[in-house]
Symmetry: C2
């Protein structure tokens, strides 16, 4: 009941995230968010209750999309290991292409806010565990199929950590060939071929 919203909440969250992403959370003022979303300052505070809350919401949204993307990519591939390789291709695309919002939003927040915002850190830690477990399951399958050697949990950890590193480099202007060289070296070292 009462007056309906004139804006699409999902779209507002998207735009707020892009603003945080491009220039950092601390450097993004409420006025910046107002410009980015089209909502007035008062409306932002009416809909979301604070800057921190909106920030956490944008992160939650982003992490959920990331988890769904990994699951979808794995499901669409002929084998889990092929799915993992396809997923890594997508990550290279995302890290390299989306200038000036280079890199990964989760990495930006991990570096800038995880040390000072418990809610953000908790979201990131939980997300890491989900991604790592999913990757580990795919690696376990690949080890069983003889395509990869080594401890599956360790390999999953290496893959996830290397991805994080790529996203850091992306903030500094990493190019596609450089990203590809890193991933190819990692896969080459892990695969039994």
């Amino acid at each position: 009941m009462a007056r309906p919203r004139e804006f699409d909440e999902a779209e507002v969250v998207d735009r707020a995230r892009n603003a945080f992403w491009a220039q950092g959370v601390a450097a993004t003022s409420i006025a910046d968010l107002s410009d980015a979303t089209g909502l007035s300052v008062g409306s932002i505070y009416k809909a979301f209750k604070s800057k921190d809350q909106l920030c956490a919401l944008t992160l939650e949204d982003y992490l959920q999309q990331a988890q769904e993307h990994l699951a979808d990519t794995l499901a669409a591939a002929p084998t889990p290991w092929d799915g993992l390789r396809a997923w890594l291709e997508d990550i290279i695309d995302q890290a390299v292409d989306t200038s000036p919002t280079r890199g990964c939003y989760a990495v930006e927040l991990a570096a800038e806010r995880a040390a000072v915002d418990d809610r953000v850190r908790s979201l990131l830690v939980d997300h890491d565990a989900v991604i790592r477990d999913t990757v580990a399951a795919a690696v376990r399958d690949a080890v069983g199929a003889g395509r990869v050697s080594g401890d599956a949990d360790g390999v999953a950890r290496l893959i996830c950590t290397t991805i994080n590193g790529l996203q850091v480099d992306a903030r500094k202007g990493l190019t596609r060939p450089e990203a590809r060289a890193t991933i190819d070296t990692m896969l080459g070292a892990l695969q039994t071929d």
Copy 2:
């Protein structure tokens, strides 16, 4: 001539860096820096000309120490590859130990400021090149000695990227066994044995 300084500039830069490091650059006010260094606000501006300038100075200082540490560690080891392994041990120590200032200052700045501060990005890019070249030279030696297989430049890139990833995880509370598992998996996959 004239009145001499009452403070040690190197120590002030150190303390300023720790303040930036712990809570992020944007979230660290000049008042915070005054508290951390013991200098008054006016004195800070007299000695360094702005917050950005002081930030760049702390980074320059940090990067130089990091480069020297890598060179020293390599020089002290019996072989370049052993030196690289010792260096990775030190990195694990640094990433895991220095709570609450976890992780690497360079990674914090890469994530928070590289996208918006050209001076910071330039410093980081140059530093990356120095570290990567040094690592690549050590890897090349190890490949020649038959201890490592693969393209030396790619391997160096993988090592540096994985380290960056570890530092991101460190911001989220990475433990020593987890860091060790990642590094051991990487080394195990790279080494020929």
